[in-house]
Amino acid sequence: MNAQAKRRALIVWLILSAITLAYLPLDSWVDSQGTYRASSVVTTIAILLALVKARFIFREFMQVRNAPTLLGRLTDLWVLMIGAALLGSYFLGLGHVS
């Protein structure tokens, strides 16, 4: 097995794990009055971090990096689409607050 490929996979895993742990400080939903408040910044950061992780998984773990360009473009397009759909739905929902 290629030692370089093994090391690269380990580095990717470390980055993904670090991003996962970076979510922990985002847990700040309650204001000083004890009321639960939505934070668009936190939600947006959580979604963007998820998209970064998804792209890493596609390219490195699923080996799209070494696949034909078309597959790389398709998966990148998917990441962009899901980003647009998630952020769009979130901000659309803010306009329908009950």
Binding site: M1, N2, A5, K6, A9, L10, V12, W13, L16, S17, T20, L21, Y23, L24, L26, D27, W29, V30, T35, Y36, R37, A38, V42, T43, A46, I47, L49, A50, K53, A54, I57, F58, E60, F61, M62, Q63, V64, N66, A67, P68, T69, L71, L74, T75, W78, M81, I82, A85, L86, G88, S89, Y90, F91, L92, G93, L94, H96, V97, S98
Partner: protein
Amino acid sequence: MTANTGKPARAIPGQPDMWVLVLFEALVFTAYFAVYLFHRSAHSELFLRSQARLDPRFGTLNTLLMLTSSLFMLRCVQASRAGAIRAAMTSALITGLLGTAFGVSKITEWIRLVHGGSGFTSNEFFEYYFFLTGIHFLHLLIGFVAIGVIACQLRRRERRSQEVVETCATYWHTVDLLWVLIFSLLTW
């Protein structure tokens, strides 16, 4: 099949049909996530109050387990490609064990929530929570079948199909990918 020239060939990992399935599944889950996020922002007080009942340590642990299982699945594929069958089999076994640990952790979290009074019918947030994590759990179970197929292929040694190994690996990574998104959306 490409001759070994020292450079990795630009081939689709596994069968193209699996990639069609992966992208289709991803679109279906995107639709679920979009509906969830719309309702979450429209009823943020209820959703955030319910979300606070989740223990983020479970989600974080589960994500680390899934990511680590994906790392070992990648090692399995790389080892199989290099003809290192024993190493590939060991990595497949570790992947399965990590997947099992994920499953046990998920069930423990469900039991803890239900005992704490937060069941499927408790409110809209928990309907989404149990639905999304339940559907994902189903994918995990199918993932175990994929690992079984990989193990069978590896036992065939020289007659193994690397394409089938990579196809099953792609499915397992999809289970990881979906979990990463579910974790981000449901826990935070």
